[in-house]
Symmetry: D2
Subunit: 124 residues, 4 copies
């Protein structure tokens, strides 16, 4: 999951270009009021959307995040949140994923969208 994903306790549950599922604990990922940090949701959106994009692009290509947007719907104080990413469009140079994050009771916490650019791996 990379250094930040590991540090935040992310667990990859499912991975493929059509669907990526990641879980993350609230504990340790909170802001000063003790709620899940809005930015933690954004990391989840980037992580889930990038994994989907990378699996769509294949091993000969890199994916680069361009734009991320998140709308926060509700605070979460504890438990685990689950992100589900599904593609909006999968092209040869650009991917767009929608990511929905829910809490332990299935309530929508955050909705995000990630646009990635696909680039060929250039040998060094």
């Amino acid at each position: 999951m990379g250094a930040l994903g590991d540090r935040m306790g992310m667990v990859l549950i499912e991975a493929g270009p059509q669907r990526v599922v990641i879980t993350m604990p609230v504990a340790g990922n909170t802001q000063p009021y003790g709620l899940l940090h809005g930015g933690a949701n954004a990391v989840l959106v980037e992580q889930a959307g990038s994994i989907g994009a990378a699996m769509h692009a294949g091993p000969d290509h890199l994916v680069v995040g361009l734009d991320i947007t998140c709308t926060h719907h509700r605070g979460v104080r504890d438990g685990i949140v689950t992100a589900v990413a599904e593609p909006l469009s999968l092209g040869r140079t650009v991917t767009s994923y929608e990511v929905r994050i829910t809490d332990d009771e299935g309530r929508l916490v955050c909705t995000g969208r990630l646009t990635c650019l696909i680039r060929p791996v250039t040998p060094t």
Copy 2:
């Protein structure tokens, strides 16, 4: 800085409603390719914009992040990044901050915008 900000090594350099400055190391906050995680930029945007909003709102009010958007301009492999948040609008119920993140050489890494809602603290 809250649990997530501490875990990510954020340091608050300057704080006020007109300007918030935070630094963060790249190491430990990377994605699988070893570059600064795009979501780490988003955490910085949320953190910096929320601190500004909270200082504008004052101690009798809470601020809640509503919408965050980030555009990633360049990858960063090491060193420290610096986020500077400045207000676009400061109202009685809504704030909007723009946050620019630069690398050690002053190059623009990410531009973000955070909208927060201001709510009265309701006694429990």
Copy 3:
């Protein structure tokens, strides 16, 4: 539909807090290359999400658009596009709608999200 919606040929097909549907012709709403203007999609997102928010809020309240985001998935050269808005969250002070715009063949053209603030109507 207001002056801009009328000028752009928008037709309200369905309206309620749980679902708003609006159609719009491509002709007359194009950019210099002759494709549907990306901003025309954004007007649709604002229009559809605001109507849903206003119907949720009721006649004693005004709704004010705060944040809009759109990702463009494909160009459209002619025909009619259809926007469908559905709520992500409906609160007492904030609403969030997702809007999907498709072309005549049902292909996804644009995905947008609109956050609105609900304010009481204050007598003048």
Copy 4:
């Protein structure tokens, strides 16, 4: 300005990759409450950012809008609004512009950001 820009009364005041300025009247571009339509701001952001991107890309390339985000700061009832677009990053395949829209008194009405993809013109 293309069909939509012409219909909305946009006037191009200045154009170059480092700065694009466009004006637009409020009249005719309003939503049902009689205020400037939030989507009209988004059309301005797309128009100004795309013109800058096209001038950066040059005549052998097309630019395609990918992501647009706008935060609305204040309502406008009449007069003219002015959009100023300036680049955040100008690459070989991606551009990012920030656009600030002000009213007749210079007050900030809307802040937007547009990401465009640059594509080679392919002969038909």
